[in-house]
């Protein structure tokens, strides 16, 4: 992209200061080429939930009202689970892995001695974590197809939404990781992710939360899940634009904080 087009000029400064973040992705790809197992581990959790809903709850609960449609319960839950698989993949990679590289392995110090800078490291790692989340989403989608829960072709429209979820969670995950002081701090990650997973209108519609609906809307995963659900059911509303905006803002804020923190921690 030419550096004087309008879109370039309004881009966040971090993006303008990046040179070749794709090299970080390339580096991580070399590492994971040798250990492909990590890709498989993280998407099992939503998959097991999915199976349990297909087999058990579905029969008990029956259909759910969503956007004026009546849909099978498992088909209501599946998109939200797909959204959380994108979240899981992105968060796993952007927390523990980045913490190790930041505090122990000195990998970033070497990168920063090359023409790469802090924005390259932050963008590269976030993109990588997003891709990892996306691989979870893709394998999850494959499961949906096999279980006959994929619904229509609209489910493919949910994939870009999964990318956006991965981006937002990777950026926020990396930003938070730069503040972690010990491995024990990672217990907080679990403490935060479980309620996000359970209370993001994942398992029942927003209306079921009654007066507490606004709390649910504070959850980034709520916006992600709503986006994936809408897309996979072929529903487009103005509200979805808000969901997109929330996730983009989270991504930009996370990226900016992560870059600044890498500068303070490593370039001293």
């Amino acid at each position: 992209m030419s550096r004087d087009t309008l879109i370039w000029r309004i881009a966040p400064p971090i993006l303008r200061n990046a040179h070749r973040p794709q090299r970080i992705v390339e580096r991580n790809a070399i590492v994971y080429r040798r250990t492909p197992m990590v890709f498989i581990s993280g998407f099992f959790e939503p998959l097991f939930y999915l199976l349990s809903f297909r087999i058990g709850f579905g029969a008990l609960i029956g259909d759910v009202e969503f956007a004026g449609m009546s849909i099978e319960y498992a088909k209501f839950v599946a998109p939200a689970l797909m959204a959380s698989s994108a979240m899981n993949g992105a968060v796993y990679d952007s927390t523990m892995n980045i913490y190790f590289k930041l505090r122990y392995s000195k990998t970033y110090d070497a990168m920063l001695a090359s023409p790469l800078g802090a924005p390259d490291v932050a963008i590269g790692e976030i993109l990588w974590a997003m891709l990892r989340g996306f691989i979870y989403s893709l394998s999850f989608l494959a499961c949906l197809v096999v279980l006959g829960l994929a619904g229509s072709w609209w489910i493919l429209a949910a994939l870009p939404a999964c990318l956006l979820i991965g981006l937002a969670f990777a950026a926020v995950g990396m930003a938070l990781t730069t503040y972690m002081r010990s491995w024990a701090d990672f217990d907080w990650v679990q403490t935060i992710m479980l309620p996000l997973f359970l209370f993001s209108a994942t398992f029942y519609p927003l209306s079921a939360y009654g007066d507490f609906g606004w709390i649910v809307q504070l959850s980034p995963l709520y916006h992600g899940a709503a986006l994936v659900r809408g897309a996979s059911l072929g529903v487009a509303t103005w509200g979805m634009l808000v969901h997109v905006l929330v996730l983009i803002v989270l991504a930009v804020v996370g990226l900016t904080v992560a870059t600044r923190r890498i500068e303070t921690l490593l370039l001293k």
């Binding site: 070749r20 580096r27 590492v31 990998t107 070497a110 001695a113 090359s114 001293k268």
Partner: protein
């Protein structure tokens, strides 16, 4: 390329919080020169090197590398630098070969070219047979060699070496010196820090001695020896714990005395006659040695510290 300095520093200061590690130094290094920093631990050598390498912001003063300001053109500067940091920071998740290849990729060098250069450099540092193994499994000296090889991947115009040969065996040191000498002949600027005076004498056209954040002397190795030391040195060893005791008896001998933990150094133009005088005064050292003055003596004189510390 013109002959404008590749490094230009004026009143350069580095502070960590309230602690001043570099206290306003002036430097000028010309293209193709090989330049050394000497100084005791904590003198501020690495802090200076890191500012030059564009990985540590300048607190105060002026710094220009290739005529560019690292605060705004850091990436362009680093593109032309080769860096061997004091502490190895190899990528433990990659093999030695991939360490070099990906590092070349950070400089946007085409992949096939990276592989070719990496193989040549692994050959040079004699790690070809370890190229596909684990970095963690390398010995300390091997890691050092790999770090040096990595610094050469981008064929830098200027090479920054922070204690490059610490931990290397004598053979590996000589191989590196030879390579550095050839790079210098090709016009590469070398900037290094070292605690080995023979290395400084061999490699550096010009040196600065730093102490407590300041430059305390500057010149070629020969000039420094002429200016800060005598022609010869008489080394005396007395039986354990008696060195200090003999200090009074030795007064007036030579131009200067240095009493170290393990020996007494007498700085003099004529070591043999000083030794005769020691015997005339009735002292019986366990051993004695007359040698030419070296950089080590300059270092001792200027920093008041023995390298053996």
């Amino acid at each position: 390329m013109s002959d404008s300095p590749v490094i230009l520093a004026h009143s350069l200061v580095k502070r960590f919080g309230s602690f001043e590690a570099v206290k306003g130094i002036d430097l000028e290094v010309s293209p193709g020169e090989s330049f050394g920093f000497l100084g005791p631990n904590g003198a501020g050598k690495s802090s200076t090197m890191r500012m030059i390498a564009g990985v540590s912001p300048v607190t105060e003063g002026v710094l220009r590398i290739f005529g560019l300001d690292p605060a705004v053109a850091g990436s362009a500067i680093r593109n032309r630098l080769g860096v061997v940091p004091q502490a190895d920071n190899l990528d433990g998740e990659l093999t030695p070969l991939d360490n070099l290849v990906i590092y070349g990729r950070y400089f946007d060098i085409p992949r096939s070219e990276c592989v070719e250069r990496a193989r040549e450099l692994l050959e040079f540092v004699q790690l070809t047979d370890r190229s596909g193994g684990r970095v963690d499994a390398l010995s300390g000296g091997m890691k050092r060699r790999l770090t040096i090889a990595r610094g050469l991947m981008n064929r830098p115009e200027m090479l920054l070496l922070d204690e490059p040969t610490t931990g290397l065996d004598p053979q590996a040191r000589h191989i590196l010196w030879d390579r550095l000498y050839r790079l210098k002949q090709q016009g590469v600027t070398l900037v290094l820090t070292t605690h080995y005076m023979d290395e400084a004498e061999q490699l550096c056209d010009r040196l600065v001695v730093m102490d407590a954040g300041r430059i305390v002397a500057e010149g070629s190795p020969r000039d420094l020896i002429t200016n800060y030391s005598t022609r010869e040195v008489l080394e005396l060893r007395f039986s354990a714990g008696q060195n200090a005791q003999h200090e009074a008896q030795l007064t007036g001998l030579g131009e200067r005395l240095e009493v170290l933990a393990d020996r007494v150094l007498v700085y003099t133009e004529d070591g043999e006659s000083a030794l005769r005088e020691v015997h005339t005064r009735g002292m019986r050292p366990e051993s004695s040695l007359v040698r030419r003055s070296s950089l080590e003596d300059v270092f001792l004189r200027l920093t008041g510290r023995s390298l053996a510390e």
